[in-house]
């Protein structure tokens, strides 16, 4: 009979977790090369670890949800969930009128994609009418300078 101790289960889980972090680092390099271009591997890993901890605060745990959350962080800023200018995003993640954390994230992803398309459409229309761009520009960070990660050491609040 094969006996696996609790410590071994924990160790196996940690190995799996580290593999996942590595795969997410690679994912950032592949899909968001501009955003992580100035970061060395350790800095990218640091951001992935940080983002996964933030995702856990919102009850997210599946690999799919963690990857989606990381995508949002890469596009809207590593601290997007604490950025007062993006309070609407936090509202989606904490909306108690939606039972499942995974569903809250799915709604946020949908809304983010929708807003991005809508802003592009509105911007094109305003240009056609010779109007200035929307002053409340909520673009994804690949269009705008990426916000610095300022809250890495301040994770106590949610």
């Amino acid at each position: 009979m094969l006996t696996i101790s609790a410590a071994q289960v924990e160790a196996l889980g940690e190995v799996e977790r580290l593999r996942f972090v590595e795969s997410m680092c690679l994912h950032l390099r592949n899909v968001f090369p501009k955003i992580v271009a100035s970061l060395d591997d350790q800095a990218v890993k640091c951001r992935v670890e940080y983002t996964l901890r933030r995702a856990a605060v919102f009850g997210l745990s599946s690999r799919q949800d963690l990857c989606r959350y990381l995508n949002l962080a890469a596009l809207f800023g590593w601290d997007f969930d604490r950025n007062p200018h993006r309070a609407w995003m936090r509202h989606y993640l904490t909306d108690e009128q939606v039972s499942r954390p995974s569903e809250r994230l799915a709604r946020l992803v949908k809304e983010s994609a929708f807003r991005n398309k809508l802003q592009e459409k509105n911007r094109a229309l305003r240009e056609e009418f010779g109007q200035d761009e929307d002053p409340l520009d909520d673009s994804m960070s690949e269009f705008a300078p990426h916000a610095p990660l300022t809250l890495l050491d301040k994770e106590s609040d949610t």
Binding site: E16, R19, R63, S99, F114, R115, E120, L125
Partner: protein, 345 residues
């Protein structure tokens, strides 16, 4: 690589990841049994999807699942046992929505999601009516949207009889008017797994009708316009591009909580920009209401301060002269009647 394509690639990668328990958990669930889904789509009176509608599914044990519609108006409840459930738009009055149809989901809604996380419904205080005091910019349509009613349900309520007698238009109220908001009537319907149920949210959207005239009162017909809307909730709204009709009207469907309409009329050197505070026009029987209409018609009164000062008196005299009325400089009945006729509300 553009932002949009990065977004799509990123989402594809996420979709390829497992939706099961995360990387820090060494355990795995048993093979999943087949489960079922209920899907709901909420549409407005213009047949367009309505977002942010709270939806609740209840099982026989009185446990609930709660979700909200996305921009496509859709909510899906997966991980269900096959059967019938009770569905409600629990934040809305029972008369503010109705079922308009259902159809079969692809694959009959079968899925292999984890069992739905049923929970006990939160304790809610007993529904009670209350009185709302109007502030500038509010009308019954906005209150209906805010409190989850079809506007006419509020307007036609017996306890608002005195208000109806005083104000003929539910869209035009005076600050410090009192509106009774009744208790919501609860309502639910039966839905079966495997079906997409379509619901109608009554009273959504609202219609915006703004007419543009030249100095000689001829309509500004066939002019291009761009309409941008600001809402009380801060929701991002699609700009609307169009052309004024033969009578100079801009017609558009807008969210009921729209607060400002920003209209760019015309292009090039003849372009003009208008910013309209929606719901801000007071009833005609107030001086502020007279001032608002005179200002909109090009008879400047200055601030709508509800005072019959020199500028307002002059604007009234000019208006009366232009319209062939007796020139009194006062908001008499024939003048108010003509103002309502010309300003359309």
């Amino acid at each position: 690589m553009s932002g949009a394509s990065s977004w799509e690639s990123a989402e594809q990668k996420a979709q390829a990841e497992s939706a099961e328990q995360g990387p820090s958990d060494g355990t795995q669930e048993c093979p999943l049994k087949e489960r079922h889904a209920v899907e709901v789509v909420v549409k407005g009176m213009d047949d367009q999807p309505v977002a942010e509608v709270a939806v609740q599914l209840q099982n026989d044990a009185h446990l609930v699942l709660r979700a909200k519609t996305s921009r496509d108006g859709v909510v899906q409840f997966g991980g269900l046992d096959e059967g019938t459930y009770r569905l409600s738009l629990w934040e809305l009055d029972g008369d503010a929505w109705e079922m308009t149809g259902d159809k079969r989901l692809p694959l009959g809604g079968r899925n292999q999601e984890k069992p739905a996380p049923w929970t006990s419904p939160p304790n809610a205080p007993p529904a009670q009516g209350f009185t709302h005091r109007i502030v500038q910019g509010e009308c019954v349509a906005q209150l209906g949207y805010r409190y989850g009613f079809f506007p006419e349900t509020i307007w036609d309520h017996p306890r608002n009889r005195a208000l109806r007698a005083e104000r003929s238009n539910l869209h035009i109220l005076q600050p410090d008017d009192f509106v009774f908001i009744p208790a919501k009537k609860p309502r639910d319907i039966a839905v079966r797994t495997g079906l997409r149920t379509t619901l109608l949210r009554k009273g959504v959207p609202e219609e915006l009708n703004v007419r543009f005239l030249r100095d000689d009162d001829s309509p500004r017909a066939d002019e291009p316009f761009l309409l941008s809307i600001t809402t009380a909730s801060g929701a991002l709204v699609s700009d609307i591009k169009g052309t004024t009709d033969a009578r100079g009207f801009v017609h558009a469907s807008i969210p009921p909580d729209a607060t400002v309409a920003h209209i760019v009329l015309g292009k090039g050197s003849r372009q003009e920009v208008f910013e309209l505070d929606l719901g801000y026009v007071n009833p005609i029987d107030s001086i502020a209401g007279v001032q608002a209409r005179l200002n909109a018609l090009g008879y400047p009164c200055g601030n709508e301060d509800n005072e019959l000062g020199e500028r307002t008196g002059q604007a009234l005299r000019t208006f009366q002269q232009d319209r062939g009325l007796e020139v009194t400089g006062k908001p008499d009945e024939p003048t108010k009647k003509k103002l309502l006729e010309v300003s359309l509300s």
